[in-house]
Each structure stands twice: as C-alpha cells, then as structure tokens.
Symmetry: C2
Subunit: 397 residues, 2 copies
C-alpha cells in the first residue's frame, strides 16, 4: 500500500494531529527495490508490515439485524491475520438472527481456517462479567448490557484486550463492498506503522460517495460531518489561538486504536461515541497542562486521518437519524470542560438551524461509559475467559 | 485469497471448463499454518503465489475518453508488481485527453515507483509496426489502427508479449471501485495458479450488482448474459450430446489469459471480442478431433470462471448498446463452423425476440483479426521497441 506521507501535523498539547493522507495505491507489491521512504511525499507500507500489524489487531464488528449477505461480505473482507470479534445485538426470537450470524461466521471460519469470536450483547454471562468488573454504567435497568453500538464496541474492545491484541479496529456490518473493508483494515495497519507513539488512533475519511442514489443522504451526511468538524476546529482554535481546519474526521465511524489508548478513553452511548473519543483525547492530552497519564504526555499521541481509495457504499438507512447524529455528536463537544463560549454559541446556532434543537434548548448530556482503565479488567477477563470457547467460531478441521 | 476449489469440471475435447468458483475471502494472511489444500472445498492462494503471478502479468487497460477520476482509481487498484499497459483511443483535440491520461499515469508511477506503458491507438508508429508485421486487418482505410476496444486489446497484448510477460489480463477503465480492480487481478493470479496447462484463461463473473440505481441496466445486462450463455451451452450440448449449463461467463469483459493462449486466438471487433475468444477455443480445441496446435491438444486448456466478492460498479453508459452487444456476441456463435442448426434457430429466435434483428435477417459476420501467432510478431516488436521509451510513464526519481 502507498499512502501520502504526513505532510502537515498540528500539535495540540501532546496530541499530534496529522492532516488528511490519501491512499495512493492499494498494493505495493513484493518487488519494488527502492522504497521511496517518503522522499516523493509517499510512504510505501510493505506487505510484511501490514501483515505484522494485522496479526496484532482485532477487528470488532458490531451488528444488529443486518442482512446476512452484507454481514458475510464484511467478514470476507477482513484480512486473515486479524482476529474477528462480532458483537451482535440482533434479535433472538421469533427468528434467531444471532444464530444465523453465528452459523455464517462459523462457516466462513471453517472454510478459511481462522478463528473468530461472536458474542451477544444481551448475554447474561457478559452482563455478569461486566458487573463483576464494576462497569455498572454499561448495564441497563434489567441488568444486561445497554443497547447501542457504542456499548457493543466497548464489549468488543474488552474482548480484544482479553485476547491479548495490541490494536483494535471497528468496521460496520452494513457495507456493500468487501474490498472497502479490506482497505479500511490495511489503512489501520498503515497508520499504526507510521505512529511514533504507542498511543495512536487512525480515523478514516471516505474518498467519495458515488451519486448512484442515496445522493441526498450523502449530501446531508456531508453536512453533518462538516458541522461537527467545524465545531471541533473552533474548540481547538479557542485553545491554541490559531484558526485551524485540521479535524476532518470528527464523526468517523471507521476507526482504530492501540489498546493502550482505547483503555484510557470513555465511550459515549449511541452516535456520540466517535466524537466523544476525540473530545476526551483533547481533554486529557490537549492543552498545555495535559491532565492524562504521564506516559501518554511523554510519548505524545498520534492521530491519523486517512482517506480511502474506494468509494463508500453502505446500506442506506434513510436520513432521519442524521439530525440526531449531529445533536449527540455536538453535545459531546458542548458539554466538555474544554468548550469555550464561542464554540458553544456556534454549536447552539448550528443545532437550531438544522432543527435538531429548539431555540433556547440545551443539548442533552450524553451517557458516558468510563474508560476501561478505571474498571477491573482482570475481573472481566476472569469471568469471560471460560465463555470464549462457547463464543468462538472456530476451524474444527 | 481463498477460492472455492474446482468442484465440477466439464470436458469439451481438450478444453477443461471449470464451473463457477466463488472467492471466499479476499486475503489469506501470512500466518495460517494449515493450508486446507482444497480438503474443505476451498483453495488457499498464498500472498507469495499471487505476487509471483502478478509479476509475470501485464494488465491492459483500454480507455476512451473516460473520466480521469475513474481512470486514476483503476490504475491505483492494479497490484504493484503487474506491468500496466494503457491503450488509449481518447481524443487529442481540441482537448488532449490522451495527454491528461498520460500525465495522470505518470504521476501515479512516479509516486509509487513503478513502470507503465501508455500508447495511443491511432499513433502512426503503432500503425507502421502493425503494417510491417502483416497484420493489415487491424488497420482501417486511413492506415491507422481501427477504432474499438478489441483492437486496443490486441495492441495491448502484443505489447505485453514485447515486454516479456507470460500473462495478460484486461480491466475496463470505467470502474468506480479500485478495490474491485485489485480483486480482479488477484483472481487472475489465483486462476493461473490453479491451471495445469500453460494454456489457460480466467473469466470473471460479477458477484452481484447493487440495486442502488442502474437497476434496469443490470437486469437487461443479466438478460444479455443469460442468452449468450444459453447459446454457448446449446452449442456444446449439440457436440457432446449432453445438456449443460457450464458456460456462465460468455460475455465476461474482465478476463485474462496466458500469452501462449492469447497468441492462438483471433480477436473479433467490438463487443464480439470476448464471446469470440470462447468460440475460437471451442473451434480449435473442442470437438473430438481438435484442429488447433498439437501442444495445446497435449496439455489441454484450463478455463476458469471465478465469481468476485466485490459488487460490480461501473459507469452507467445507458442500456441502448445492450441489444447491439447481444447481436454481435451471438453472431460469433452463429457464424462458427461448430454451430449446429438447433443453436442457429435459438440464436435467431432470441435476437428477434430482443428486437436486435428483424425476422428472416441473418446476424452480420463479425470483423475478425487473425491470431497474433499468424502475424510476424518479431517485426512488430522490432518496430515498437524503440518507441517504448517514449511511451513509458516511468519513475524518474
């Protein structure tokens, strides 16, 4: 894979925010003798390097009643050396869709000789492990894990930790193009290979969205992204005193992190989860007197924003949730202690213009799940480990 | 890459026609210790094997006034170790689109440290080389190479031969998804690695065509494919005496061959080119007394039909050419000496039903360019070789 070298990096406290780097070519071959080493403005990420990081990475796929064809396609695109962790919140009855997902995954793993874990978000054993770990805010009033992709992601990353992985990446199950999934994961690996710090995050920017249909959806989504990014940039500007437009992936659903970083971040419920990760990174490690752990402050934190080569084609779930998405995303910024008055005014005006909020209303506070580092991960692991055998979809050959 | 193993193979004379094999997973990693060796019905094609075949392969991209964004995307998806050969028939004035393509290719090659050739189909030097080689039917009344993708493909494969490649694959320049291009070429490599004979062809079946829009187009295209395949299968049945539906890629635009095979085939003009290749394979090596070269009869010929994982997304050029496509495709079967009366009747009735032909009309004979083996390839090479420097888009770093 060839990726543009990081040409422009902004610093915000200990955070090194890299501007967009485009994927130049999907493959870099085995033969090319003269790696350009960034001299031409392009970094060659060798196949060995990519595979090395893939081997240390878990890919978490949160899924909820997705069409099996799409789910199977997504699984078929995840590089072989990654551990697959599916966290499903699909229905169990009258039709047991979870079981269908498990069967599909099982077949795939048997055919391709690989291991995967699949777990149901509402499983009582998961709830027990979460409870024993003291992670009560992940549970709902019935004592099972709350609904929501964010909570699925948290379960997934805890399982990645349990499986001894160093990196965790997320991909959605509603993607039409297995080749895009392959590219996302290769981008994650490419980003990690460029990181100087063990605390690192890769966020994906979609190349373009074909105007085949869903044109309206993508335009509105583009608007949501644009506003979220503008508010992030306003927040950074207010702290550094310099105008910036460095943040271009505020809402990025496809992203990956080192587990060292993942453990330090809180996870907001619903669509707030991705923006909240950035907010928290800035709260902990932005500013001049970072409040976060000293190790991170020392190493710094590498944030990569990488633009795909493939277009993004996902299941069009309609546009009605985009307003809600904007609201919860911006509310994470609004309620951050970092947020200055000007950015707050910008957020309120944008939410009112987009009719996501009535005049003089305040955005609701998101539900935040504490960083995994603050819970008893060992207790979670101890309780979950015996379940892994049940959960695995394994080559039995 | 994991591909279904060839589970069902039909023989037609010396031709081994393999039934559809699906791509199971796009990547097979570096680590998996127990290659299933087809035991589970799946073949693991290792990264090394794929790269080995890619290194011996040229990918020919015929292009004509395609949008540069799509062209660039296609180039970015071709694996690095393949030689890229672009044969352009784009306009030179008032806007020099050929030059824009050349600049794009040049930039790509410079950035990713690779070599490519780009040649204009109407270039006088190409015409001269073709003329000296005695390949007059490739030229039009003005003494330059005829218009058409097929003629571009022939120039491309002659250049692949000149460059010392053993395999040649074709991809269209109107593809939205670089990841699909990557998959096509990896499928070519996978097919070649499964071949027992040095005479081999890989034809691609698209997984599915998303109903984002262009639904009508794809339904009609599906109809064209279905009819073409039915006529092919009728022709084979008439010779073997057994009903069959083995041919599923009669119109496959994405296909690849060993150059040893490519040299032996004639190339029909226009959309007849892909069906004509199959017709000629059956004429030369089908039947019980194959008329083709003894070496092929001895080794046999491996024909693979492989189904992609990625959906096919290409520029929608409208549906009006589909009738013409059906007509020229079926005319290659109709005018083959192999074609029996029943298949002829089937072809005529289908063409009439689809309004591609009036009642009691005969389909026109396609223009056929002789197999390259019958021309003086050495003369072509001698004339073209000095031009290659001019034509290359090369890393100058």
């Amino acid at each position: 894979m060839y990726v543009e070298s990081p040409r422009y990096t902004e610093r915000f406290g200990s955070v090194r925010i890299n501007d967009i780097q485009k994927v130049v070519a999907l493959d870099s071959g085995l033969k090319s003798e003269i790696p350009p080493h960034g001299a031409m403005g392009v970094v060659k990420i060798s196949e060995e390097t990519i595979k090395d990081f893939e081997d240390r990475m878990a890919i978490v796929v949160p899924v909820k009643d997705e069409r099996l064809k799409l789910f199977e396609g997504v699984i078929s695109g995840i590089p072989h050396d990654c551990l697959i962790i599916v966290v499903s919140n699909s229905q169990r009855e009258p039709v047991d869709r979870f079981r269908m997902e498990r069967d599909t995954l099982n077949q795939m793993c048997r055919y391709t000789n690989r291991l995967a874990y699949i777990v149901h978000q509402k499983d009582a054993r998961v709830a027990q492990a979460v409870k024993n770990a003291g992670y009560d805010e992940l549970l709902d009033e019935n004592g099972v894990v709350r609904n929501g992709k964010a909570e699925g992601m948290v379960i997934g990353l805890l399982m990645a930790k349990l499986a001894g992985k160093e990196y965790v990446g997320f991909v959605d199950a509603d993607n039409y193009s297995p080749g895009s999934i392959l590219e996302y994961v290769r981008i994650y690996a490419a980003g990690f290979s460029m990181a100087k710090s063990p605390y690192t995050m890769v966020r994906i920017l979609w190349h373009y969205k074909p105007k085949l249909s869903g044109g309206t959806h993508f335009r509105k989504w583009g608007r949501v992204s644009e506003i979220t990014n503008r508010c992030f940039n306003s927040l950074i500007s207010s702290r550094t005193g310099f105008e910036t437009n460095i943040i271009k992936t505020g809402n990025a659903g496809e992203h990956a992190m080192s587990l060292k970083l993942a453990e330090l971040l809180p996870y907001a419920s619903g669509y707030a989860v991705e923006p909240e990760e950035l907010v928290s990174i800035f709260e902990q490690f932005g500013g001049t007197l970072p409040a976060g752990p000293a190790a991170v402050v020392k190493h710094g934190l590498d944030l990569f924003q990488i633009e795909t080569r493939n277009p993004h084609l996902h299941e069009d779930k309609g546009t009605e949730h985009l307003g809600g998405m904007l609201l919860v995303g911006l509310s994470t910024i609004y309620h951050s202690p970092l947020c200055d008055q000007e950015t707050k005014r910008l957020i309120l005006s944008q939410l009112t213009i987009q009719k996501a909020l009535k005049p003089r209303q305040q955005p609701p506070k998101p539900h935040i799940n504490r960083p995994p580092s603050e819970i008893n991960i060992r207790e979670f692991t101890k309780n979950m480990e015996p379940c892994l055998e049940i959960y695995s979809a394994l080559y039995e050959g």
